[in-house]
Amino acid sequence: MVNPVVIIAITLIAAFSIGIFQFLGKKFVRGVFWLTVLFDFAAILSIAYGFLTKAIKNPIMVKIGGFPPPIGINLYVDQLSAYLGVVVFFIGAMAAYHWLSRGINDPEPKALVLLLLLLLGSTGMIFTQDFFNLFVFIEITSIASYGLVASNLDSFSLEASFKYIVIGSISSTFVLLGAVLLYKFAGSLNMADISAHINSSMYSGGMLIIISIMFLFGLLIELEVFPMNGWALDIYQGANPAVVAILAGGIVKGFYLVFLRSANYLKFPHLLKIGIIFGLSTYIVSQFFAWKQKDIRRLFGYSSVGQLGLLILAGAFYLNGNLHGFAKKYMLFAIIFFVLNHSFSKSTLFFLADLFGRRRIEEWKGVLSKNKLFGFLFSTSVLSMAGAPPFLGFWAKLFFILAIPKEYFYIVALVLIGAIAEILYYFNLYRIISEKEDGIFDYKGSIVPSLFNVFVLLGLSAFGAYKFFILTGLDIQSGKFLAFITISSVAVFVLGVSRLAQWILSLGMIGALGFHVIKNTSLVPAFNIQSFFVYLVLAGAIMFVFATYPLSKKYSAVFYPLFVFTVFSMVGISVSSNWITLFIFWELMSWSSYLLINQGGKKAAWIYLVMSAIGGYGMLAGIKLLSTGPNLIPSFSSSSAFAVSAWAGILIFTAFLVKMGTAPLHIWARDAYGESPDGFTPLLSGVLSKMGVFGGILTIVYLLPHLSHSDTILYGLAWFGALTALFMALLAIFQEDVKKVLAYSSISQVGYILIGLALATSLGYSAALYHTVNHLIFKGLLFVAAAGIIYRTGTSYLPEMGGLIRRMPFTFLAFLMGIITLAGIPPLSGFAGKWLLYSALLEKRWMFILLIAMFASIVAFMYCYKLLHTIFLGQLRDKYRKTKELPLPLVIVELVLAGLTFAVGIKPNLILSFSEKAIKSLGFTSPGYAYESAHRIVSKFGYWNAYFMGVFAVGSFIIALILFFFAKAKIRKVGQLDIGYSGEVPDSPESVHFGYDLYAHMRRAVRVFIYPHVENTYKRIYNSLMAFVDYTRRFYTGDLNTYALWVVITLSFIFYILYKGVF
């Protein structure tokens, strides 16, 4: 352990020696600089390590000059300041390395001196325990930063620097005033000493409140809170990113710690109010202002400011929020994780922004595809910043949300809204970056610091996850499973040298997990609703992975890892035992599937992500509403213990509705299904949307009965399901893209499942579960076939196809069976689901919903026919004359699924026997129907004999065929263009193929219903918000006087609210 004062002294000496002996040459200067930084880093690391290993138990108190605390100045190093020191020095060293590798345009020695002074000042600021000394260190830091900010010597950086100087001076004036007035008031400058003299009753009037406000207000300016942060944003935009990285990543955190510590020592009673007002407003405002930002550095600046706002909020709650026990600990870790996450990822982002050098966001187009390593670093940082699991930001946010007391629910809501806004703009940026573009990518400088940062960040993420699972006491099984997911997908990435190897590995891993689940009952103890979905996920996944290999050549190397990740996180969802675990895996699934969709359509993926975020955070808010009292983690079965409002249920259900694509939340689905990689779409439709069903079942069974108005909610849900089923089917018939037709069809079918769930009777669940499996079978089949067809023909545009039955007979057979199943025509498996659902609806007398549901299935025939006709029938085009049957894996999957539909159609027990068990595990005694004889199923209203129908259909078909051969016409197979065409000979297949806009007449009848009202409403909301933001962000005029004016106004505002007691 090193005496902290040595750090300061050595740094100071080094700084001056560089200044004096710079004539000794560059090597000397750099040598001294690096030696100092390394020494400081090692020293502070040793202290931190001491704290970490509990070798040092108490905070270190250094008495300078041997005077005891109240008289002499002293340093005080506790755990937090040591850790923060490590971070500051790490970031500082990285920034310095980065800067040197880029080449310093200022004379080097000066810059290094300033850097050292900056590090020195911030260290001192963190360590000191004397108010005036604090002021001195703040000034050292500030002056060094003024210089560094100006170091680019262009008009941008000089302007930023000058603004900083003026506002910084005002701020330090307040700090100084506060400090000396404090001295006048308390007769001491030592923090601990002052703290001992103060009690909160002194705040009830008089000087102390003014003094504290002065002092804290000065620090608040430095903390870039909302109305007074224009200068900070200008620095982010204008200054050298290396400097900005160290400022945002390290120094501001020092100010933050100082602020909290001072407030703590001053026992400032209004910290919570101040924190909520300024933290929250800073967070929300900056997240929204960033939307319209075109300059990438300023965008990061907004994000930084927002994060600081969140930190202030968290700190205020930690110190002053009446948190106890768990909550306090959670909040502490939330703060720590926020700090670490922001330091490492934001500094990486600034490094990368500097390396690439382009400012405007559009110029970043295609960066991800041009340099893989760069892309990886950028993606990781952005994901962590935006709070994507399993990165650090996610755990921080989760801790934060869990820790906030329930009576401050509005804060949870606002923070989550801010988080959605954050995702909105970060991934708008990501969308631009990940677009495909050819070209050369070059950057000047070293990528090593970013690499270091990201590795630390990854390590910290693992630590964060570990800490989260340990602290919250969640079942450790889930934590292990999370680790397993991560490790396995990384393994697929690392070990998969080629696509083939990745394919085999993915198959092996999913298969192994499936084998494990079947063999080992620890994951799924008895057959219940959860194991039903585990089997569903694994069975679907293994088939769809199997089908992807022929398509995989055009996918990037992360396709299979992400695929495995998505699949396993869905397994995680299915086996999770409480709401929080469910949420974690849910987010894992959303994000990984977002990244997968992003391999295809960028805009679509963005919309998907935003909608997922709305759903996911809605769920988190709902969970927050559920959790009461000491039991912060609500588990499924204990939900009954909570008397909660209906909003909790509705909010939680939002997430599931989004994934199911239910009507007003469906806007992501068409494009996400249509443009995601073809190999992934079957999983998206067949399995991923079923996770919504799973969640829906959980909510309805465990949660809804305990809510008020649960009947109304269920009836409303049924209406949502029915309208979704109808309108999505209507929209599907006018799509001209095979995957988009299937997309709408998918949503429509899931609407049926939702009706089944909302019935909440055993027959309803039977219908829902049956249809869940059945939808997996036939929609998987259709999407796999569509993927193969797109692979073979190179287009997904329906009018471009036609006549492919001649080239792909097996696919046609499978597709036909899929379509018959989709249409619900007996004897294939689709009918059973319909029959069960209608019986259930009849039983419950929901006549109107029954009417709409049945009618929707009639409408579905239209797109069913459209798909069959435009792809397979009609005229074969010349360009597809040499097209082959689909690749073997796809055909195998198709035929297996087609066989399944037939088998299930004749013997529905194949699925029903499972769903019966699952339903019994939900507490129902019977599945809602009965077997009258071996094959005849009877409900209260009707009956149906699947086996007979199958035999009858096949039998009479054969009889008709035999009869046909009795008629003795001589049949000749003619060519495709030999049609009765008024005596003309058609000149090309295209001229006689009817494939475009099949339902033009229907469009004229239903024009009102298919107008994209919902989508336009979303667009309108988004656009008007955008316009609003674009207008209001002019708040930051760029004028120094205005910035100063806002400082004064804010100060008056604070005095006003604290004196008047408003708020």
């Binding site: 080239r807 003619v974 005596g983 003309e984």
Partner: protein
């Protein structure tokens, strides 16, 4: 698959069938004549009166269809030019056997008043087998009905075998057709 196989290549085979029930079926064929009217000339105006209320051909089982695939009778209603002859041949070939052709008007017999026109086919039976000619310029619907009666009679007697002759003497017909149709763009053998 071949580069282009819009049309069939192999020649239709000669039909052979047992004659056991033929008489009964010929009766049925005669009683159910589905007509595709090829409106080549002025005779096409006589078809609508024939099938509507005044002359009511439907009482004899004669009704109209819109597609050659389902038709039994092809009515060539008037003069044929080379251009229309091509289409007539195609329509005729697309009809399913047994099939019959009725030629309306003098033009189909020998060119009629256009016997010296540069663009009127004078002798239609050189190109497709005609079962019944109805003379006149133009024949009235009564005459056409009489022609149909004639056709029915021939069918019942089994004498309306133009379709058989066409297949049997396909080469001869083709030669004649190709003689006047210079640019032979019709696909061979595609019915």
């Amino acid at each position: 698959m071949k580069e282009k196989d819009y049309f069939l290549d192999d020649r239709p085979k000669k039909l052979s069938y047992s004659e056991v029930w033929e008489k009964f079926f010929n009766w049925a064929r005669a009683q159910s004549l589905w007509v595709i009217a090829y409106g080549t000339g002025c005779g096409s105006i006589e078809i609508p009166p024939m099938v509507t209320s005044r002359f009511d051909a439907e009482r004899f089982g004669v009704s109209t269809v819109g597609t050659p695939r389902q038709a039994d009778v092809l009515i060539i209603s008037g003069y044929l030019a080379v251009k229309t002859l091509k289409r007539v041949i195609r329509v005729y070939e697309q009809m399913q056997s047994p099939k019959y052709v009725v030629g309306l008007g003098a033009c189909t017999v020998n060119g009629g008043m256009y016997y010296d026109s540069y663009n009127t086919v004078n002798l239609v039976d050189l190109y497709i087998p005609i079962d019944v000619y109805v003379a006149g310029c133009m024949p009235r619907p009564e005459a056409i009905l009489a022609g149909f009666a004639q056709l029915m009679k021939k069918i019942k007697e089994g004498r309306a075998d133009g379709w058989k002759q066409y297949i049997d003497n396909l080469d001869k017909y083709r030669k004649n057709q190709e003689k006047i149709i210079k640019n032979w763009k019709i696909p061979n053998y595609n019915w």
